[in-house]
C-alpha cells in the first residue's frame, strides 16, 4: 500500500511538472497512474480554456471557393490546386477530383496517373490569405478576439456577447439578447459567393466539430442530422450549430464519441497511423489509457487523447489588429519597368505618410501588394530595423527590395501599407531647416487650400512612365499632387 501510494505521488507530481513546462496553467489532479484518473472528490477541475465559449467559422475548401469565384467556368470540374515548385503536390482538390481518388498531399505524377483529365492549376496562398483577411474584417464587427488558424478557418472569442449557457442563466447584460441572436448576426457576416459555417462550443475543438456538424446538416438536409448534445441546436438559417451538453464534462465526450479520428487537428501521418491501429472513432481513442497513447504518439497523441475526451486546453490566441494605413494606385496599362514602379511607390509613400492617422507615429513595417497581369498576387513585406517617419529611409528600404526582387509580371495595381505604427516619434529633428524646406511647406499648404476650395485637387504632376515607348500615350502620365 505504501509503495503504491509513493508511485501515485510520483505520477501526479510528474504530470503537474509536465503541464507547467508546456506553458499552460497546471491544474491539480490526483488519480491513479495509467490514465484512468479518478478526480479529487469526484469533480474534475477544468482549465480556463475548456470553460471559454468559442465560435469556429469554417469555409470548406476555401482555396477552391476563391478560385471558383475568380473562374466560374471551373465550377463542377475536377480541379486540383498544386503547391511546391520542385515536386508539386495537391494543395486542395474539388469534390469531383476526390471522387476520382485525388487526395491532399498527393504528388502530381500520381494525380495524373489516376485522373489524366483533371484540371491542375497552381495554388495562390497569398490571395487566399488576402481574401480571408477581408472576411475576418467583417467578423471583427462581432468580436475583436479572433484567431486565424488557416485561410478558411478562424476562432472567435464569445465571452460576454450572449447568454450562451441558456436563456435566463445569466443576469449580466450582454450585447446580444440570446444565443440565437448571436448566431443570426454571425450568419449575416458571410455572404455570397462564399459558403461558410459556424460552430459554437466550449473550447476550440468542440467549436470546430460544431461547425462541421453545421456543414453536414446543410449539405444533407434530408438525412439524419448529427447530434449536437442535449442542449445543442442548429440555427434557423442552418449555418450555425451549437454543441452544448450541460452537466459533467463527460457529456461532451459522449457527443464526440462517434466522430472519426480524421476530424482531429493532427498531422496526416498520425491520422494514418491511428487508422492502421484500427482506431477509427474518437470513442475508441478515448477508451485507451493516456500513457499508451502518449508512448506511441508523443505530445501530439496526448493532445489528441484529451480532445477525444472533450478537453481542449489550448486557449484562444487572438491576433492584435493594429492601425494600418493603405494607399493604392492603378496603372492605366500594365507596368513592368522599374522606374515608373519606383515613382509610384514614392508617391504612395509620401501620401501615406501625410495621412492624419500617421501623425506623430513612426512606421516599423511597410508592405507592398501588387495585382499582376495573369499572375497570382505579389506581396513584399519589409520590416525596418528602426522605426522611421521620414520618406528617405522608408523609400530606401523599398527601393532596395524592389531592385533586388522585382515583380515577375507587369503590375496592374500597386498598394502600399504602413503597419506596426509605434506610439511615439523616434526620429531626430535637425536643428537647421533644409534649404527649400520652407518653400516646399508653403507650396503644400497652398495646394491643401486649393483642394478645400475646389473640392478636388486641380494640380497634377507629370510622371515619366516609359519615355522610349513607341505608343505616345504610354510615355508620360499625370498623377494628382497630394499635399
Amino acid at each position: 500500500m505504501i509503495i503504491a501510494n509513493r508511485c501515485l505521488i510520483f505520477e501526479t507530481r510528474h504530470a503537474a511538472l509536465e503541464r507547467i513546462g508546456s506553458g499552460f496553467p497546471a491544474p491539480i489532479r490526483f488519480g491513479r497512474a495509467g490514465g484512468s484518473r479518478k478526480p479529487w472528490g469526484n469533480k474534475r477541475v477544468t482549465t480556463a480554456a475548456e470553460e471559454t465559449w468559442v465560435a469556429c467559422v469554417w469555409f470548406p475548401e476555401f482555396p477552391l471557393q476563391v478560385e471558383q469565384q475568380r473562374r466560374p467556368e471551373w465550377a463542377g470540374a475536377p480541379l486540383a490546386l498544386l503547391a511546391g515548385e520542385r515536386q508539386p503536390v495537391v494543395f486542395a482538390c474539388s469534390f469531383e477530383a476526390r471522387a476520382l481518388g485525388v487526395r491532399r498531399g498527393m504528388p502530381l505524377r500520381e494525380v495524373l496517373s489516376l485522373a489524366p483529365q483533371i484540371l491542375c492549376e497552381p495554388a495562390d496562398p497569398l490571395t487566399y490569405q488576402s481574401v480571408f483577411d477581408r472576411i475576418v474584417l467583417r467578423l471583427e464587427e462581432i468580436t475583436p478576439l479572433i484567431e486565424v488558424a488557416t485561410p478558411g478557418r478562424a476562432f472567435l472569442g464569445l465571452e460576454g456577447l450572449a447568454p450562451l449557457e441558456g436563456e435566463g442563466t445569466e443576469t449580466a447584460p450582454r450585447l446580444y439578447p440570446s444565443a440565437i441572436a448571436l448566431a443570426v448576426a454571425l450568419e449575416a457576416t458571410v455572404t455570397a459567393p462564399f459558403s461558410g459555417f459556424f460552430g459554437l462550443g466550449r473550447g476550440k475543438f468542440t467549436a470546430h466539430v460544431a461547425s462541421r456538424f453545421a456543414a453536414l446538416a446543410w449539405q444533407r438536409p434530408a438525412r439524419k442530422w448529427p447530434n449536437p448534445g442535449p442542449a445543442g441546436w442548429f440555427s434557423p438559417g442552418g449555418r450555425v450549430c451549437r454543441i452544448h451538453a450541460p452537466g459533467p464534462p463527460q457529456a461532451v465526450a459522449a457527443v464526440l464519441r462517434p466522430l472519426p479520428v480524421s476530424w482531429l487537428p493532427v498531422e496526416e501521418r498520425m491520422r494514418r497511423k491511428l487508422e492502421q491501429f484500427g482506431l477509427r472513432s474518437l470513442g475508441q481513442l478515448a477508451a485507451l489509457p493516456v500513457s499508451a497513447v502518449t508512448a506511441q504518439f508523443g505530445k501530439e497523441g496526448r493532445r489528441a487523447w484529451l480532445l477525444s475526451q472533450g478537453r481542449d486546453e489550448e486557449p484562444l490566441q487572438p491576433r492584435l489588429p493594429g492601425v494600418e494605413i493603405g494607399e493604392t494606385l492603378e496603372f492605366p496599362t500594365p507596368e513592368i519597368l522599374q522606374e515608373p514602379l519606383l515613382q509610384a511607390v514614392a508617391q504612395l509613400l509620401e501620401t501615406a505618410l501625410r495621412r492624419p492617422e500617421r501623425r506623430g507615429r513612426s512606421v516599423s513595417q511597410v508592405r507592398l501588394e501588387a495585382h499582376l497581369e495573369d499572375s497570382p498576387l505579389w506581396l513584399r513585406t519589409i520590416t525596418l530595423r528602426r522605426p522611421a517617419a521620414r520618406t528617405e529611409p522608408l523609400f530606401g528600404a523599398l527601393r532596395y527590395s524592389l531592385e533586388r526582387l522585382p515583380p515577375p509580371a507587369p503590375v496592374l495595381t500597386l498598394t502600399l501599407f504602413l503597419a506596426n505604427l509605434t506610439p511615439a516619434w523616434t526620429g531626430q529633428l535637425s536643428l537647421f531647416p533644409e534649404p527649400g524646406e520652407e518653400i516646399r511647406t508653403r507650396l503644400l499648404e497652398e495646394l491643401r487650400q486649393l483642394r478645400v476650395r475646389m473640392g478636388r485637387m486641380p494640380v497634377a504632376r507629370i510622371v515619366e512612365m516609359d519615355p522610349c515607348s513607341r505608343i505616345p500615350e504610354r510615355r508620360y502620365s499625370l498623377i494628382d499632387c497630394e499635399p
Binding site: 471583427e140 462581432i142 475583436p144 493594429g322 494600418e324 494606385l329 502620365s477
Partner: protein, 98 residues
C-alpha cells in the same frame, strides 16, 4: 459593434498624357488623306492636305491589346503641320503628337 482600427485605403489613378483625339479625315480609297476637319485653330472648316511629309507604322503589344497604327505627318493648306494616325483595326482617324 467594434470599430475597425484600420484606416480606409485611399486610391489614386494615373492618367495617361497625350491621349489620341478623334479627328474627321477625308481620305481616298487608298487611305491617303485629302482634307481634315475640326482642327482647333479653325473650328468648323475643312482644311486641305497639301503634302504628306512623313509616314510610319506602329505595331505593338500583339500579346495583349493589339496596337496597329499608321502615323502620318501632314502639311495643311494654312502651313500648319499635323500628326495624325489611322487605327488599322477600326479604321478610325485620330490626332496625336508624336
Amino acid at each position: 459593434m467594434f470599430p475597425d482600427p484600420r484606416t480606409k485605403i485611399q486610391s489614386h489613378r494615373l492618367r495617361a498624357l497625350n491621349q489620341p483625339r478623334p479627328l474627321l479625315v477625308y481620305a481616298t480609297a487608298h487611305g491617303k488623306p485629302v482634307a481634315v476637319y475640326r482642327v482647333p485653330a479653325h473650328p468648323g472648316r475643312w482644311l486641305r492636305v497639301t503634302a504628306v511629309q512623313d509616314q510610319w507604322r506602329v505595331d505593338d503589344e500583339w500579346w495583349r491589346h493589339e496596337v496597329r497604327r499608321r502615323y502620318l505627318t501632314l502639311l495643311l493648306e494654312d502651313g500648319a503641320s499635323l500628326t495624325v494616325f489611322q487605327d488599322l483595326l477600326t479604321g478610325e482617324w485620330y490626332q496625336q503628337s508624336y
